[in-house]
Symmetry: C2
Subunit: 239 residues, 2 copies
């Protein structure tokens, strides 16, 4: 499908929302249903549920209650709509990077590892429960494990910076540990966090008693991951 890099096609000018320009007279009136946002939210929810490839443009349009062609009018190709969703939520990512870089990773802080893990994970966990947060967290988990080229491009573009920021900070907190071992440990932590926010099996294994909003659960998670990173201090260096 890709054909890709420069798929613009050139001829058609992509629609930009010139709407909502009756200006700031009465911002909270319903003001003619915002169908662009409806499409964006519909796509986000569907991609989060089923993954990129399993959602058709028709599904998105149907759920949003608009004709199919309107999706292309506002967002161009399916792939660009996918990217727009993440761009729309990018603040969630930059906030996490900012919190990571606020942590004191110097030798004076004995809790640097746990502080770092908390700064990295807590924004995601506390996001759960809010409506948009639940949907987007699930979308990220789905996308992180989606082997398709559209999904990997998104992860590389939006989440590699976060990964590098965390690994760099953890390298400062654990100055005697080889960088590659920290990267591997980061992978394990990501895998665990993705399960926390995205796995559906937990309800089956706990017979429906699972509640991911429990704050004690968040504390358990941070302890689990922090203890893992701390084991790197004593381990054998890689061969």
């Amino acid at each position: 499908m890709d054909q890709s890099e420069d798929p613009s096609g050139g001829s058609r000018t992509l629609a930009r929302p010139k709407a909502a320009r009756r200006s700031a007279v009465d911002p909270q009136e319903p003001q003619r249903p915002d169908r662009r946002s409806a499409i964006l939210l519909s796509a986000e929810a569907l991609f989060a549920e089923r993954g990129y490839a399993a959602v058709s443009v028709r599904d998105i349009a149907t759920r949003a209650g608009v004709p199919i062609a309107l999706v292309g009018y506002y967002f161009g190709r399916k792939q660009e709509l996918f990217g727009t969703i993440f761009a729309h939520r990018q603040v969630y990512i930059t906030e996490r990077i900012a919190r990571i870089e606020e942590v004191d990773c110097g030798p004076s802080n004995p809790n640097a590892v746990a502080d770092l893990v908390r700064a990295w994970a807590e924004p995601v966990i506390t996001l759960r429960g809010s409506e948009a947060g639940d949907v987007f967290s699930l979308l990220v988990a789905r996308t992180a494990w989606d082997p398709g080229p559209e999904a990997t491009a998104i992860i590389e573009r939006f989440y590699d910076p976060l990964a590098r920021a965390f690994v760099a900070a953890m390298g400062r907190a654990l100055p005697d540990v080889a960088g590659d071992r920290i990267v591997w440990a980061y992978e394990y932590a990501v895998g665990a966090l993705l399960m926390y926010v995205g796995d559906k099996r937990i309800e089956r294994l706990t017979h429906g008693r699972a509640i991911s909003a429990d704050p004690a659960l968040c504390a358990d998670f941070i302890r689990f991951i922090s203890a893992g990173f701390n084991t790197l201090r004593q381990g054998d260096p890689p061969a």
Copy 2:
């Protein structure tokens, strides 16, 4: 295999491999190419690379070098072929369950947690490097995160027993810890292991220096997860 749900359509009898019946005269001669196995291996590799939905029956047939209709002749629907792949590798799963149940989880064993984690993870990690092991491990990781109904049915059928065996054994090793907290920790461990065997980002983040065959890496992983489980001992009970 159950073949199951009864989508059979009734009329057509599914092919069963009556071949290789020229008996035990000369088992290693090429004996007319085994196209059934070729299809099975082709499908396994493609599903592992791209996930269930992103692979077409035509892709499978082309890679195996057989006409499309032969896939249906041997395996019926795509969904049944998917299940047959896992049934074919089921010994990998039962071996892990057996190793878990061999571990002494009584109070006399101070290393019960680490022994359990090793019994659970080591068969997967050491499988990597063998050709079939690499492919199947990746397939499991893809399937575990595939939200489609075909994939979730497979995980429930083949991997829920492994999960319950591990959780039960860990409950014996940590008798004072609530069961649901162990289930959550198990989810984190699964997430980490899936990243170990299935993530492609590691090469990007380590600038291509990652080598998952390194035995020190296996030791790091088991230490990481064991330390996580051990934190459950001291944690606050859930609210």
